[in-house]
Amino acid sequence: MPRRNDLHRILIIGSGPIVIGQACEFDYSGTQAAKALRGDGYEVVLVNSNPATIMTDPNLADRTYIEPLTRPYLEEIIRRERPDALLSTVGGQTGLNLSVDLAEAGVLDQYGVELIGAKIDAIKKAEDRLLFKDAMRKIGLETPRSKLVKTEAEALEFAERIGYPCILRPSFTLGGTGGGIAYNREDLVEIIERGLALSPVHEVLIEESVLGWKEFELEVMRDLADNVIIICSIENFDPMGVHTGDSITVAPAQTLTDREYQMMRDGAIRCLREIGVDTGGSNVQFAIDPKTGRMVIIEMNPRVSRSSALASKATGFPIAKIAAKLAVGYRLDEIRNDITRKTPACFEPTIDYVVVKIPKWQFEKFPGADPTLGTQMKSVGEVMAIGRTFKQALWKGLRSLETGKAFGSEKLDKSLIPQKLITPTPDRLNYIRFAFESGYTADEIHEMTAIDPWFLRQIEEVIRLQGELQKESLDTVSKDTLVSAKRFGISDAQLARTWGTAELTVREKRKALGVVAVFNRVDTCSAEFESFTPYLYSSYESVSEADPTDRKKVMILGSGPNRIGQGIEFDYCCCHASFALQELDCESIMVNCNPETVSTDYDTSDRLYFEPLTLEHVLNICDTEKPDGLIVQFGGQTPLTLALPLKRQGVPIIGTDPENIDLAEDRKLFGKLLDDLGIPAPENGSATSAEEACAIARRIGYPVLVRPSYVLGGRAMVIAYDEETVREYMREAVSFSQERPVLIDRFLEDATEVDVDALSDGDDVLIAGIMEHIEEAGVHSGDSSCVLPAQSIPRRQLDTIEDYTVRLAKALHVIGLMNVQYAIQNGTVYVLEVNPRASRTVPYVSKATGVPLPKIAVGLMLGKHIRDFTDATGVLPVLQDFVKSPVFPFNKFPGVDPALGPEMRSTGEVMGVGANFGEAFAKAQISAGTPLPDTGTVFISVNDHHKPEAADVARRFAALGFKLVATRGTAASLRAAGLTCKTVFKVNEGRPNAVDLLKAGAIQLAVYTTAGAPAFFDEKAIRRSAVMHRVPCITTLSGARAAAEAMAARKRDPIRVWSLQEIHAREKATA
C-alpha cells in the first residue's frame, strides 16, 4: 500500500499560540509533517495563528496562512485552496477540535476535503469520555468508575457513592484546565462550578480516585494495514494525581516485568484498534495499583501529543514524520529508519540509556496562584536529559532546568518536610532529597509520596555518595570516586561547592585524572546496528562515539526549557541559524535540552547534542568538537549568561563580542555611551535609602518607575505617582543594599513604546522592523500587542529612530541582530533598552517582511555583508498590517490578577494579518482567544487621569451600537461628555456590581485601567471574573482605542485571508 496518488494538496492545521498544556511540541510535529509530505511531492497548505513557529516559515509549506484557528477563517482558506485532504493529528487538541468542527459543520464535505490521520468517529470515541469508557469496557479494559455530570447536585450525589477523594475533569479543555481533586464536599462544590464554566459543553467527569497508583504511557503507531508498534514506554516518577505534563517522567518504564508490560502493550493495541485510529501515533495512559497489579486505562489521545514529542526525542523515532507518511498511505515497513538506514521504521525502538523529563514551573510570575500540582497542568516548559542510568539522567535534568539556584543550595525548612512530601508542588523533589539528608528512610518517604521505592532508592544512592564526597577533598579524591560521582550525574559545580573550590578547578583536576566526558549515540536499537546520525548525549563511559568531523563547524547554543519571556521565538532563531549554516556549507552543531523543540530534532542540524546548557556541558562538547565558532545570540538569556565564561576558556564566540552584549546591560557604562552619542534616555538614578529615592524622584519628576536592580518575584516594578508610594515601596516592597540599589527612572506617561529589530555587519545597518506597541509604555514589551508598520508615529520620529538605531549598532560593534526599545513622549524619542542579540520579535518581523533575519545574521557572523543577502537599505518595507498579540495563562491560575504591568506573563503570541490596522487587530484578538464582541454592552472604569480620553473611546463604542455601563466617577465624566451611560456599583460599594453583571453575561467587553499602583481588591475581582467568564478585559486606554478600531473593522471588512507567500511576492515586486 504505497503513497496515495489521488491526493495532491494537503492542509495542515497547527496548534496556535503557546499556552500551558500546548507548547512548541506541536511546532515540532507540524514542521515534521510538513517536511515529510512536501518531501514526498505533496503540496502543503499550512495554517497556524502563531508567528513564532518554525512551521509557519514560508519555506516549509507551499502556502502558509497565519490566520485565526476558527471555523470561518478555515472555511475561507479551504474555499480558496481546495485541499484534497486535511491532516488532523499534528496540531494538538486545537487542530483536532477544529478538524471536528469543520467536519461537523459540513465544510469538509462541501469542499470535498478528506480527513486523514484520524477519522471523525475515532476522534469522538477517544475524546468523548462516555463513548471511550463504553469502548474500553467492550474490549475488556477497565477504566476508573466515573460519571459525567452537568450539575452540582448530580456531582455531589455521585461523589457520595464512590467516596472522596475524587477526580474532576471538565470535558474538552486543554491540559486539564479547570479540573482538580476534591478531598471533600467543599472542594467538590468549588471545582465543579469552575469546571462547568470552563468546559465548552458545560460537562464534568467525576471519577474514582486512583491517586497514588503507578502511572504509565505508551506511544503507539498504526498503519493502514493494521501493523502496530510501540515506540516507547514512559513511567511517571510522580504517581497518579499529578497531571502527566506536571510529572517527572522516565523512559523506558523501569518497574514492570515483561508480563506486566506486555499486558499494557496488548491493552494499548486493542484500544487503538477499537477506537479506530487508522494511521499515525496515539498515546495511551494507564494506571496500575502498586499493591494488586490491577490496571486501568486512563485515556488515549488519537493524535500526536506532548508525550509523542518526548518519545521521539527519547528514542530517535520521529513519530510525527512517520505519522504524516502513514496518513498518506505508506505502510510502516515501507518507511526506512533514518538512523540505521538499513532497517525499516516498522520495529520497536529499544534504548540502552534512561531518559528523564522534568517540568519547569513559574509560579513566581503569578503571585496568588496555588502551586499545588493536580490534574490541571501548570508547568510552562520542560527539559529532557539522557543518561546511561536514571541517576545520571535525573541529575542532568535538574541542571537543565536553570532554576537560578544550584541544586542543593535552596533554602529548605525541615519542619515542612512531611507537608512538602505529601502535597505535590514544584518543590517536592528538593524535599525528597532534603528528607534523605535529614535522616528520613525510603519507606517513610514512600509512605508520604507514593513514589515507587525504586526511584527513591536511586535518589538515596546519590545522596549517600554525596555524603561520602563530603569526607573527601579535591586533593584526596581518587579517580574511582570521581568516576562514580560523574557517573551518578553530579556536576563539577556541585563538587566544587562540596569541596569549597571553583568549578573550573574541579574540571582541571578531573581532566588531569583522565575523568572526561564521552558521548554516546541515540540510535533506536541499543547499538545492534550502526547509526548514521550524530544524535549524542554525554556520559562517563569508556568509549566516545562522537566521531567529530574535520569540516568547518559552528555550534549554536539553544534556549533551554520554555519559560515566560524565553520560548519558541528563540528556537525559531536557532533552527534558522542552523539551516543557514548548512546553506553556507558549514557544519551546524546544536546544543539544547528542550524535547518540545524543532532544534532538538535530529535532522535539524548536522549534529545534535542533547545536553544541559551549562558551562561544564558546553565545554565538554567544545573539547570534543573544537568548533570554529560558537553562536550565543539566538538562544535568549540562557546562552548569553554563558558567553563570557566560555570566551574566557578560549571558546571562539562569533558575532557581537560578549563584552559589548554585557555593556548594554550595565546601567553605568550604557548611560555613558548614550551620553557620548547624545541619545536621550529617561532620567534615572539609583537609591539605597528612602530619602535618597525621594530626592531622585523629586529631581526627575513624577511619575517614576521604581524597581530593584535584580528582578525578584512578581511585584518587581511599581509606577509611583507620588512620594508616598515611593516611601511605601522602599519600606515594604523590596529589599535593597549597597550592591543592589533600587533603580528609579522617570516614567514616560502615555508614551508610545516602540521595538526595533535590526541587522548589522559592522559597516551597514538594516532596520528590519519598527514595531509600534498598542499598549503604552509601562506594560512589558512581551505582553503588549504591537503592529507593523507603525501606525501613528510621524516620519520625523521614525527617522530619529532609524538614526539612533544605526548609531547604537555601530557604537556597540554589533555583528548580527540587535533589538532596541524606544519610548516616544511629546515628540521626543527616548532609548529604554538595547539588546545586541536576537529578540522575541525576530520571527514576527521575519514573517511580516519576508526577510529571514536569523539566516542573514548567521551570514554576517561568518564575515559576510548585508549587501550579500539583500539590496534593501534603511528600513524594510511592510505592505500589509501585521498585529502581534500576547496570550496569557490566567485561566490556569484562578486568583491571580490579570492586569498587565511591567512583569511579562504571557506564554505565547499570535499574529493577525489585515488590509488595515483594525482588521489585523481584530484577527489577532480572535486568535488570542479573546474575540471582541460585535454587539452588547461595554463596561468602563478608568482612573482619574484617564477620564478625559475615556470619553473619546466610549463615543466610538457607542457609535458602533454598544451600550455603556460605568462605575460612578467614570459614568459622570461620560455623561458630562454627552454620552448615555448606566451606572454600576464598584464591588466594595454594593450590589449589583460589575462582577454580578459579568457573571450574568450582561457585559461583553470590559475596559478597566489602573494607575499601576498596587491594584485594589475591587479591580482584581472584576478582572478575574472577566477572565473566568471569557469577557475580553482591556486594561489600557490605547488598547481600548485599538479595540474600537477592530470592532469597526469586523463590521466593515469581510472574512478574508492572505498567504505569506503572496504577501512576500508583492513585497519583492515593489522593493
Binding site: E142, M263, P344, T350, D352, W454, A527
Partner: protein, 375 residues
C-alpha cells in the same frame, strides 16, 4: 564492592563490580536488546553455554518471581550489565534478582560499559569469554577464554534436555487481575514436545489452545514418539549449533508426513536440516524483543522475540518442497517456512514471547488447526 572481570578471547578485558555469585564461568558472549524480561532470559535454556550482556542499563529493578521462570533454574553462564539494582520493587516479586542468580552460582559483572562491549561484538562478532568474580588477572582470563570449546559443532540441546518424559498441563495464569487470559480450551489434542531446552511458556501456550502435552527427551526416537499416538509433534527451542544434532534431525525426518509438526527456534533449524536445508552461524545473532518479521501469507508485520545465533539459509531450501512464510525485515534472514506436502511448519523466532510481544500467538492456533485438519 568486590570486582569482576569479563575477558574475551580477542584479548579485550572489561572490569566492573561483582554482583552475583563469587564464581567463574565461561561461554560464548552474546547480547540481548530487550528492555523487559531479564528473568525470562536468565531462565531460558537456550542460553546454556552463553554469557549474556543486557543492553537495558537498569537490571534487577523488579526482582524475580516464581511465575515468570521459563525453566527450573537460570541457564545463562554469566551476566554483564550496566547497573544492577540494589533493591527490588514490584508487587509480584518474591526474591531479589541478585539473590536468585547468586543461589545458582551465576557470576554477574555490573557497572561496566555494556554499550562499548556490544559495539565491540557487533563489529567483530560474538566470541568466547570468561566472566570471573574470583580471578583478578585479566590476561589469565583471556587465556582461559581461548581454551573453551567454540559454540559451533556443540550439541548442547541434549545436555539441557529432560532425562525422563513428563506430562504438562499448566495453563497461562494472569499476572494481574486485569490481564485478559482466556481460560484454556478443553484438551482435545495430544502433543508430544521434544525438549531441546524448552521454554515453559511454550508449554503453557500449547495448553491454552487445547493441547495435552507430553514432553520427551531430545534423543527420543521417532518411533517411540509415534508410539505415544500424538496428534502433533512440537520441536522446541534450545541452545547451540543445530548441525551436530544428527540424531534429532533424522528423527524429525522420520516424523514428517506421519504427524503434524511445529517447530520453534532450534526446532525450526532442525526441521530446516530435516528437509535438506543448511544452517549457518550469524555474526552476532538475534537476541531481543523488537524484530520486525513479515508474514508473507497475510502480509502483516509482527514484532517478535528472538534468541538465536544460527539460522537456516533460505537458498538451501528446495522451493518445490518448502514455502517461505516469514522473513526478517531488518536483515532479510529466514524466519519461518512450511512444508508444501507434509503438515509441518516452523518459525525461527519465539511466538510464545516471554519475554516479548504477543503478536505471534496465532501460530499456536495454526498448529491446532493443522492437527484438526489432519485428524
Amino acid at each position: 564492592m568486590p570486582s569482576a572481570i569479563l575477558a574475551l578471547e580477542d584479548g579485550s578485558v572489561f572490569k566492573g563490580s561483582s554482583f552475583g555469585a563469587s564464581a567463574e564461568r565461561s561461554g560464548e558472549v552474546v547480547f540481548n536488546t530487550a528492555i523487559t524480561g531479564y528473568q525470562e532470559i536468565f531462565t531460558d535454556p537456550s542460553y546454556a553455554g552463553q554469557i549474556v550482556i543486557l543492553t537495558n542499563p537498569q537490571i534487577g529493578n523488579y526482582g524475580t518471581n516464581a511465575a515468570d521462570n521459563e525453566s527450573s533454574r537460570p541457564y545463562i553462564e554469566g551476566l554483564a550489565v550496566r547497573e544492577f539494582s540494589s533493591i527490588t520493587s514490584n508487587w509480584r516479586s518474591d526474591e531479589e534478582a541478585r539473590a536468585f542468580l547468586g543461589e545458582h552460582g551465576i557470576p554477574v559483572v555490573s557497572d561496566l560499559d555494556t554499550r562499548a562491549l556490544v559495539r565491540h561484538l557487533r563489529t567483530r562478532g560474538v566470541m568466547r569469554g570468561v566472566l570471573s568474580a574470583v580471578e583478578s588477572d585479566g590476561a589469565k582470563l583471556v587465556e582461559r577464554a581461548r581454551q573453551i570449546p567454540t559454540m559451533a559443532g556443540l550439541d548442547l540441546a541434549s545436555r539441557v534436555s529432560t532425562a525422563e518424559p513428563y506430562e504438562w498441563s499448566k495453563p497461562v495464569e494472569p499476572c494481574s487481575p486485569s490481564e485478559l487470559v482466556a481460560p484454556p480450551l478443553e484438551p482435545r489434542y495430544h502433543v508430544v514436545a521434544y525438549d531441546f531446552g524448552i521454554k515453559q511458556n511454550i508449554l503453557r501456550r500449547l495448553v491454552q489452545v487445547g493441547c495435552r502435552v507430553t514432553v520427551v527427551p531430545a534423543l527420543t526416537s521417532a518411533e517411540d514418539v509415534l508410539a505415544l499416538k500424538p496428534d502433533g509433534v512440537f520441536l522446541s527451542n534450545g541452545p547451540g549449533d543445530p548441525e551436530p544434532l544428527e540424531t534429532q534431525v533424522s528423527n524429525v525426518r522420520r516424523l514428517l508426513g506421519k504427524t503434524p509438526v511445529f517447530g520453534i527456534c532450534l526446532g525450526h533449524q532442525i526441521l530446516g536440516l530435516a528437509v535438506g536445508g543448511r544452517t549457518y552461524k550469524l555474526k552476532f545473532g538475534h537476541r531481543g524483543a523488537n524484530h520486525p518479521v513479515i508474514n508473507k501469507v497475510t502480509n502483516r508485520v509482527e514484532i517478535t522475540s528472538h534468541n538465536h545465533g544460527f539460522a537456516v539459509d533460505p537458498d538451501s531450501l528446495n522451493s518445490n518442497d518448502v514455502e517461505i512464510t516469514h522473513m526478517n525485515l531488518n536483515d532479510q534472514t529466514l524466519e519461518g517456512f512450511r512444508h508444501r506436502h507434509y503438515p509441518a511448519f516452523c518459525v525461527q523466532y519465539h511466538p510464545e514471547a516471554a519475554p516479548g510481544p504477543h503478536d505471534s500467538h496465532y501460530l499456536f492456533d495454526d498448529f491446532v488447526k493443522l492437527m484438526a485438519s489432519e485428524h
